[in-house]
């Protein structure tokens, strides 16, 4: 039998497992999913990008978090910050005033960018977010703590999602975990 080295995150079955977890996180904002069983030696960032990107989805890697060799595997065209469908950024570095992602149009709000932020730790840290909105039981607000994410990202996000349905969706990752904050979620920093 032909044996060729291909890390798990590039294989269909593993990408389907990760996709199901992402779907669950998108439906339940604030839920932290552990992808470590699917990742092998890869990071959650690469697992998420390998699952969601292909040659039809543009990417802007503002802080060069995706290594060159892996970039070719993604097969995703590079686009400018304002046009990219996916933006990858270091969560610890605050977005500058020129950071203006695509918010979509009223006719096509789905064109709004998805920003993938890489931080140190989800579920512990000094920054606490209080989340409310669809997918979060109204009886309780969801509180999540973060480490390695600059709070400027969340204040800028308020501007970007202020004209719903236009806006951006956030995917937060650490080494092995992922959490999603869609544009429908309201955030209060505590």
């Amino acid at each position: 039998m032909l044996k060729v080295d291909l890390p798990g995150i590039w294989q269909d079955e593993v990408q389907q497992q990760i996709f199901r977890q992402l779907l669950s996180c998108m439906s339940n904002p604030g839920t932290i999913a552990d992808l470590s069983l699917s990742l092998g030696e890869s990071t959650a960032l690469m697992g998420v990008l390998a699952t969601l990107l292909d040659n039809t989805v543009t990417l802007h890697d503002i802080h060069t978090l995706v290594p060159e060799g892996k970039r070719r595997f993604l097969n995703s065209p590079t686009a400018s910050l304002s046009e990219a469908r996916f933006i990858v950024a270091d969560g610890a570095i605050a977005p500058d005033t020129n950071f203006n992602p695509n918010l979509g149009t009223l006719a096509s709000p789905e064109l709004g960018a998805t920003i993938v932020l890489q931080g140190r730790q989800l579920g512990s840290g000094k920054l606490t977010l209080s989340l409310t909105g669809p997918g979060i039981p109204s009886a309780k607000e969801s509180k999540v703590t973060l480490n390695g994410f600059d709070d400027a990202w969340f204040s800028r996000r308020q501007e970007w999602v202020s004209a719903f349905p236009l806006g951006i969706d956030l995917i937060l990752v650490d080494a092995t975990q992922v959490m999603i904050i869609p544009r429908t979620t309201q955030i209060n920093t505590v």
């Binding site: 039998m1 032909l2 044996k3 060729v4 080295d5 291909l6 590039w10 070719r72 595997f73 097969n75």
Partner: protein, 154 residues
Amino acid sequence: MKQVDNQWLRALTAHTPELVIQLATRLTQDWQISYETVPQRGLSLLQLQDSVFHEPYYLGEIPLSTAWVNLKTGNGQNYQGAAQVMSDVPNLATSLAICDAIFMNQLEGWQEVADLIEKGRLIRQEEDKLRGAMLAKTKVDFSLLSQEESDAKS
């Protein structure tokens, strides 16, 4: 400029996929194979141009597989090969990419690949001859039609 033989892939695919996959597996059993990009297998739309208005149109979907591999041989050297084939048989594009790397770099076992290419070339030649004969039989001579029309008018 070096002349590149672009018929080797057509010759190899004249054989059954199993034969090519078995050869690639056997020749590389002591080597390390890795992908340079994610191998793709699926359907692709084939665009052609119509001969009257020269407008593009889609003939339909075709199965398409691509692979780009790196071979690390026993002495630690790296060699690359790639292939794109109209087939969705698992591992066929990868095996063809391996054959490409072996044949083009004349690695150990390249003569076996060359022999398979030569046999495939003969199979294709026979097929082409048969198709040529079928095409010749179905050829319509329109000049006779205009002759008949002018005969009918007169």
